[in-house]
Each structure stands twice: as structure tokens, then as C-alpha cells.
């Protein structure tokens, strides 16, 4: 499952969608909007820009590479765009496998790859009104 969507996601629903025979372990990572920036300033909201068609293609490749590399049974990537306030969900990665080590390793790998290479950009909107694109 690969999704780029404005609305929130349900971890239970994604787990349910992944469940297949032979699975013994599902590891999920949920990224949440933080109320404080890396340099300690209060954050009012984050906003995502995304090159949707390329990001979907990047997600599909990351998902397939991970399934192959770690021997997963299935995997999911769900990323929100638009605006989120502190405490709101941003991204969900799920890795499902027979045994747990592979699922942990794959979930971390997928999130690292998304951060490294998917065309998504996060803007922090600080409490004082300053706006800045992260990572640029």
C-alpha cells in the first residue's frame, strides 16, 4: 500500500490491510508533528509540498526494494501533505514479516530512504510567524 493523502490515517486499518497468512510481526513507524523545531523554537504548524507523481514512484520503489531486501511479506507507506499542527500524524511506515527482526530493520530502512530521496518538502511555521523550508 502506497498513499499520499491530505487526511489522517489509521494505523489499525493499515495493519488490517497488510495482514496475510504467514505474518508474525508488523512494525510501524508513525511520524508526528513536533511543537518545537530542531533549534528549540515553538512551531505552530508544518506544511508539506510534494511532487506527487514522483513521490508515489519513489515510495513504490522503496517499498519494493525493502520487501525484496528484507524478505518482507508486505509493506506500506502513507504520507500526508497539507498542513498539520503539533501532535498530528505526518507519515506511517509499516513492515510485515514472518519474524520481527526483518520488520524492524525494514521499517527503519524505508523511513531513512524516504527522508533521503522522496520529493517531499516540509515547511515549519514558527509561532512568531517565521516560515522556513527544512533541509534546504
Amino acid at each position: 500500500m502506497i498513499r499520499i493523502q491530505r487526511e489522517d490515517f489509521s494505523v489499525d486499518a493499515v495493519i488490517q490491510a497488510l495482514k496475510q497468512q504467514g505474518m508474525g510481526a508488523i512494525v510501524t513507524f508513525t511520524g508526528i508533528a513536533r511543537g518545537e523545531s530542531r533549534d528549540g523554537k515553538p512551531v505552530r504548524a508544518v506544511e508539506w509540498d510534494v511532487y506527487e507523481t514522483m513521490a508515489l514512484r519513489a515510495f513504490a520503489k522503496i517499498r519494493e526494494d525493502s520487501i525484496h531486501r528484507f524478505g518482507l511479506i508486505d509493506a506500506a507507506i502513507v504520507h500526508r501533505y497539507g498542513r498539520q499542527e503539533p501532535g498530528e500524524n505526518l507519515v506511517l511506515i509499516a513492515a510485515a514479516s514472518s519474524h520481527r527482526q526483518e520488520a524492524f530493520d525494514a521499517c527503519q530502512f524505508m523511513m531513512n530512504e524516504i527522508k533521503r530521496s522522496a520529493p517531499l518538502w516540509k515547511k515549519e511555521i514558527l509561532d512568531d510567524g517565521e516560515e522556513r523550508w527544512i533541509g534546504e
Binding site: 509540498d49 511532487y51 507523481t53 514522483m54 507519515v91 523511513m111 527522508k115 520529493p119 518538502w121 523550508w133
Partner: protein, 82 residues
Amino acid sequence: MNIRFLFFASIREAAKTRELELDIPGGNVNDALSHLETRIPELRRHLDRVQIAVNEEYSDRNRSLREGDTVALIPPVSGGKS
């Protein structure tokens, strides 16, 4: 030939638009970017730091363009830890 440019994040804000179509005489990505920065001078200082994707594939700037190609200007992704 018609080339469609796409802008994201800080580049979109500098361009004040998400996309732009230009009719240019042909050439490669570099030539197209020269026409683009003439049209939107605010982009000039950003052009060195973007990656280029042509038709949703990362591309170098010597790639020849064809009628109807889409050229995306991709600023560095957010990276870091979440």
C-alpha cells in the same frame, strides 16, 4: 517547442507559481533553464542548488529536451530526523 516547468517548496515560492509553460527554441535542460531565468529572474539564485527531473526521472542538464517535456526543479529534500 513547449516545455512545462514545475516548481516546489522554496522554488515555488520564489516563482510565485507551481508551474509554467514556455515556448522555447529547443536545446537541452541548461538552455531551457536560461530561458526560464530570463522569464522569472527571481529563480536565478536558486538554479545551482536544484536537481532536475525530466518527465519524472532525475536527469542531468545536458539532456536534450523534446516538445511537451516536463522539467521539474527539485530543491533539496527535507532529510534529517523526524
